[in-house]
């Protein structure tokens, strides 16, 4: 099994094995707009959710280990940092190999998100999505060519949908209970 396939398999497993409980959800809801900028942020979160700081840290560790949380860190706003071109590259990839190839595309360091999604024929033929950011469209196109090289003959058609306006962008806005946001 290659590394990408191993990652996909691992995430499937974690998905099956792990469910968030009420305290996990309260912690996510309490931190969705950011960790407090105070010297002891987990203490502040603990007060908000009615747990101890050690509990909060342990829950974050558990959610990270299980894959429910991908990472904890600085979340950049690419557009504001000069990555003016946001290309949603979309690919019509043979279903038999799409899952493995999706893992390989997702592992490219310049792909911020990669997803397999259903086709909707005849309007929409593409099943693999890979988000690519660049300082300009030329940079996005160079990166997209790398993806095309990786996919080779498995790719039957592709396109790049550039965003021309951000009409709405909010953080994870949860009432307690929901935290399943997709990202584009």
């Amino acid at each position: 099994m290659n590394a990408a396939a191993a990652v996909a398999a691992q995430s499937d497993e974690a998905r099956a094995a792990f469910a968030l409980d009420d305290l996990d959800r309260r912690i996510i809801a309490a931190t969705q707009s950011g960790l407090p900028l105070t010297p002891r942020p987990y203490h502040a979160v603990a007060e908000t959710v009615g747990a101890t700081p050690d509990d909060v840290i342990a829950r974050f560790n558990r959610m990270l280990d299980s894959g429910a949380i991908r990472r904890i860190g600085v979340i950049p706003n690419h557009y504001r940092l000069g990555f003016r071109a946001n290309g949603m590259s979309v690919w019509d990839v043979d279903d038999a190999t799409a899952s493995v190839l999706g893992g390989e595309v997702g592992a490219l360091d310049f792909v911020s998100h990669a997803y397999l999604r259903p086709r909707h024929l005849p309007e929409w033929r593409y099943n693999l999505f890979a988000m690519v950011h660049g300082r300009d469209r030329g940079e996005v196109e160079r990166k997209v060519r790398n993806i095309a090289d990786l996919l080779g003959d498995a790719c039957r058609a592709n396109d790049i949908l550039y965003s021309t306006r951000i009409l709405k962008k909010t953080g994870l806005r949860l009432s307690p209970g929901a935290n399943g946001q997709e990202r584009t």
Partner: protein
């Protein structure tokens, strides 16, 4: 972070130029934020600055919207439900339809894209039923077809994104 849904055209708003500490934070801490009692102090020690400097740099970037926050990235569909939806909106109706779509709290992201399918948005709710209701509502309200492109599989390891300063 939740902010007002102010549309801004892609060719406006000058890029933010981060300082040395800010670059170090963007390069080194998109992942692995310390899960220790004083995480900002731990970062400060690695960067050779004070805890106050780190907190101030993060606050400054957040204020400038160079970062949305310091926090956790939650895997899609971990507890709630969400989908990516697309619509082919006649250009003369785009602003009105976008406003209708944005009117739903469950719509967290909405982008205009260059394609016949020109409106792409994310719907997030507590359960799949609610997501379906919102999509159905939007179809009824606009008289336009909404394509539901729910996740089949999600790959990215998502360790952050190298910014490659030039």
């Amino acid at each position: 972070m939740s902010g007002p849904a102010t549309p801004y055209p892609v060719d406006e708003a000058r890029p933010y130029t981060p300082g040395a500490l800010e670059k170090a934070l963007l390069d080194g801490f998109q992942d692995g934020f310390p899960l220790t009692e004083r995480p900002y102090r731990a970062i400060a020690e690695k960067c050779g600055v004070s805890e106050e400097d780190v907190v101030a740099a993060i606050a400054r970037m957040q204020e400038a919207k160079a970062i949305s926050r310091v926090g956790a990235v939650v895997r899609p569909n971990t507890a709630g439900a969400s989908t990516l939806a697309a619509m082919a909106v006649p250009p003369e109706r785009l602003d009105d339809v976008a406003a209708q779509v944005n009117g739903y709290d469950q719509v967290t992201h909405n982008y205009e894209r260059e394609h016949e399918l020109n409106l792409w948005f994310v719907v997030t709710a507590t359960g799949r039923d609610m997501v379906d209701n919102v999509l159905q509502d939007i179809e009824t309200a606009t008289g336009l077809t909404v394509l539901d492109l729910s996740l089949v599989e999600d790959y990215h390891i998502d360790l952050g994104f190298p910014l490659q300063w030039t």
